[in-house]
Symmetry: none
Subunit: 150 residues, 4 copies
């Protein structure tokens, strides 16, 4: 291994499952049926689950929110706010879905992935996604090895 | 069949033909030329017909309205109204066509499919689609078994 | 619900998780890193997980195998065999991925979904997918109501 | 209207319905479940119906066969035969689906559309498609106006 190449942390399936379980738990407690998508730092799908009775549209929307969040390194709500303020270019950007519920996953200075949720009101989707993000923070800090700076 | 899996009703070709005939009848009486698309609960095409002199664009629009309605479980007019009120994100949602004329088909608590119409004014498209939806209600209630809750 | 519409069983997230856990278990025991995709009867994604160190290509391949299996109601190995015998049209069919590792999930006369696996040799992918399919059979028969005919 | 522009016959919805009914009749008598697609001379969908229990894959395949037939002005079996003889370029042609069951509809020197069928063996799909094509011939000759030269 050369020291000339930097490294970056890689989101694991184990971490994704912890996140999804925490997100699903919030959804179940609220009797919300959602699709939950977790992507890696390239936007490639790492984990996905769709709860019963969830609308068809949620599959693509949940994945699109996660991809937006990791690719632009911003929560989807950031661009939703821009759109609300009249910044229409948001609608013309490739790969953008300006609706809250997609959150990038930061570990130190790195974005290691994102979580996207769809199925209920976008503000509720966002609560679920935040629960997933928070579970990652807890999971990583529990390890006692890495401090992350969410 | 195991009881561990729930069941849901499936839209048939016979029902679709009843709907399409009722919709076409309204179109003919008004001398409107339209494309009529009926999709199943997954958004897959079940029935389609395009009347003579119909504009090319109506093929994709009618199908897209039906897919929108079934996937989001809302009439396309729901999101058209949101857009009219300034909710621009509607334009950025994958699979959305916020123009009236697409109606989900509900049987009890299930969305079993949708009908989409395109070719004349969207308010007229919608009248035709509603005639199709109403024909399904009548068709199903003819069985005399259970009232469905459209 | 009217009797004029037939019904069909619907694959649940609970069932999908049982299948995925069984499939992952086989993968872990063999130290195989794979992507596992489970789709519903329309080919829409229901569950997905990708193990660490898995090649990027496996995401799309696992999903495509599952979609192939449910849409054509055949294991992907069926069409791989046809191709091996010189039936080249298999390569020109839309939505076909003629490589073993995708298996339709049958419950009685219904195909309720499919499982697709990608990451190791396709014969190994298939062993993992079969473990998932078998777990569904066991899960459903546990109800003690009816035997299904896989 | 200028005489400088030639005219061509245009397939009507009425004609398409006659074709579809004849095709469906053959399918029903054989207890075959198929999707039947009829496209106009541009390959745009004019009529479509999918029978109950039909596999998901048939929707795209039936439409693709019809588009192939009208765009290349050949039955899909023509290119299937070429492929069988080792002409692999067939697999690299855009819009080609070299599997029998797609038939162009000729009226005089014009190709006015095509019919595509999918759901059973391709040789059976082709029998159904031929019934549709034949019904058009009969329909047109009954009018006593146009002789067509199928």
């Amino acid at each position: 291994m050369t020291q000339k190449l930097p490294t970056r942390p890689v989101l694991t399936l184990a971490a994704a499952k912890v996140m999804a379980a925490a997100a699903e738990d919030v959804a179940l407690k609220n009797e919300w049926s959602v699709a939950i998508a977790i992507v890696d730092d390239s936007g490639s799908l790492l984990y996905f689950q769709r709860m019963d009775q969830n609308a068809n549209s949620s599959v693509d929307v949940a994945i699109a929110k996660a991809i937006h969040a990791v690719n632009f390194r911003r929560p989807t709500s950031f661009h939703e706010d821009l759109l609300d303020k009249g910044n229409m270019v948001v609608l013309g950007m490739p790969g953008m879905l300006p609706l809250e519920g997609g959150i990038p996953l930061r570990v130190g200075e790195h974005v290691v992935g994102a979580i996207g949720v769809s199925g209920v009101r976008s503000s509720q989707d966002s609560i679920i996604a935040q629960a997933g993000e928070q579970a990652l923070t807890t999971y990583l800090s529990d390890s006692g090895i890495i401090e992350n700076d969410f």
